[in-house]
């Protein structure tokens, strides 16, 4: 992790509908950070990730990426390719698992595709099913393929929307290890939305809590869990109902 800011969010508002709006007064994500986004269903985690990916425009406020304003409508392809997102319900393309993992590399006409794809498949334990048709996979396998097709791109920023929600503990460990590896070797900035408090504590160096579209608290993971500044955070991490 460096001291250089990757994302800077100021007075950000995203109005989804009459009942929900995401409000973030201030949030900085440093390069190489692994930031865990915690919060109940509907808190705004996925909305925030989409904004960070430049997939949706903000209603008001400012997002800066690498010190430049991130505007969804004006985002260049080069900037977009620095950020990769694994969606909550990943959609795979027709064809084999290997073809899906290779997809992003083919878009970029990258070199050493075969070696990179082999490595990504191996890292996530997908080598035995590499030739299998993607539409025959289980929910968990689909998530692993979605993760492999994102990791193979070695992005500067990786946005993960509950990427291990359908995985068994062994595969969760495998996925976390693969993501940790890329984070260490590439200094990738990761924003990881999860419902799993233990996972957040394992993988993130900083953690934040979203409730009803509001950023309640953000801080170093250890302090967040052991000595939270906000009573609502304390209630949340101790499993008490706060929403």
């Amino acid at each position: 992790m460096t001291n250089k800011t990757c994302y800077q969010l100021k007075s950000l508002i995203k109005r989804q509908n009459a009942n929900f709006a995401l409000h973030i007064h201030r949030l900085d994500v440093l390069q190489g950070d692994v930031l865990a986004l915690l919060g109940p269903t509907g808190a705004g985690k996925s909305t925030l990730l989409r904004l960070l990916a430049g997939l949706e425009p903000a209603t008001a406020g400012k997002i800066c990426f690498d010190d430049a304003p991130l505007l969804a409508a004006e985002m260049t392809l080069a900037t977009r390719r620095r950020i990769t997102m694994v969606h909550q319900r990943p959609l795979l393309l027709g064809g084999s698992v290997r073809m899906n993992v290779e997809y992003g590399l083919r878009l970029r006409s990258g070199q050493n595709r075969t070696q990179k794809v082999d490595a990504a498949l191996d890292r996530l334990g997908l080598t035995p099913i590499a030739a299998q048709a993607a539409h025959t996979l289980s929910g968990g396998q689909t998530q692993l393929v979605a993760m492999a097709r994102a990791l193979v791109l070695e992005p500067e920023v990786l946005l993960l929307d509950e990427p291990t929600a359908h995985l068994d503990p062994a595969h969760v460990a495998l996925a976390e290890k693969a993501i940790r590896q890329i984070c260490q070797t590439r200094q990738t900035t990761i924003v990881w939305a999860t419902h799993n408090l233990f996972q957040a504590r394992r993988v993130a160096n900083r953690t934040c809590l979203l409730l009803n579209g509001l950023l309640v608290e953000v801080g170093p993971t250890e302090a967040f869990f052991t000595n939270p500044a906000e009573p609502r955070t304390a209630d949340f991490v101790q499993g008490r109902m706060v929403y």
Partner: protein, 219 residues
Amino acid sequence: MTPFSAAEFWSILRLSLWISGTAVLISSLVGIPCGVWLGMSRRRGKRLLAAVVHTGMALPPVVVGLVLYLLLSRSGPLAFLDSLFTARAMIAAQTVLALPFVVGITMAAVAAAPAELPLQLRSLGASDWQCRWTILREARHGVLLAVAAAFGRSISEVGAVLIVGGNIQGHTRVLTTAVVLETGKGNFEFALALGGALLLLALLVNLFIVGFSGGRPPA
């Protein structure tokens, strides 16, 4: 005595394939991009355009033939093309009839792709064109169905090609107009045989299309 020689039969068959094949090719080149654009578009007015395209699927061939006849006739605005009673006019008529099928079915196939797919492709680094191409590839079975339907519409069409082609022996006589002619002359057996050849041709083309879609029938 058979009404046609073998050479003439093959010439009719070749001309039928040439005219319908060209019409399907033109309508695919124009209609597939239009269908993809309409299928992915979230703009206002899309529903109205979709309704227009669907209405085009119900275009009466004789009306299309009549309008083209009036446009291409000596007193029509397109008389300078000198295309009436030629294969070109028949191709134009079949293209007009096939185009709404290509656009409409492609549009439906592309629109059936999950709404989230373009976003997920973009988050993997796809440009707008790469995104459209990938969605078209995902909808390829539907697109092949569109091409098959357009070919079926073209090869079996009789009203329009009879009006603008004139059923001239050796020039504009195709399988359907030959069936009409032979039926009129009372050569029912030969007319039925020509109808069988027409069906066989349609079957062969559809088998080719199924083969092209990886052995899976387009659906």
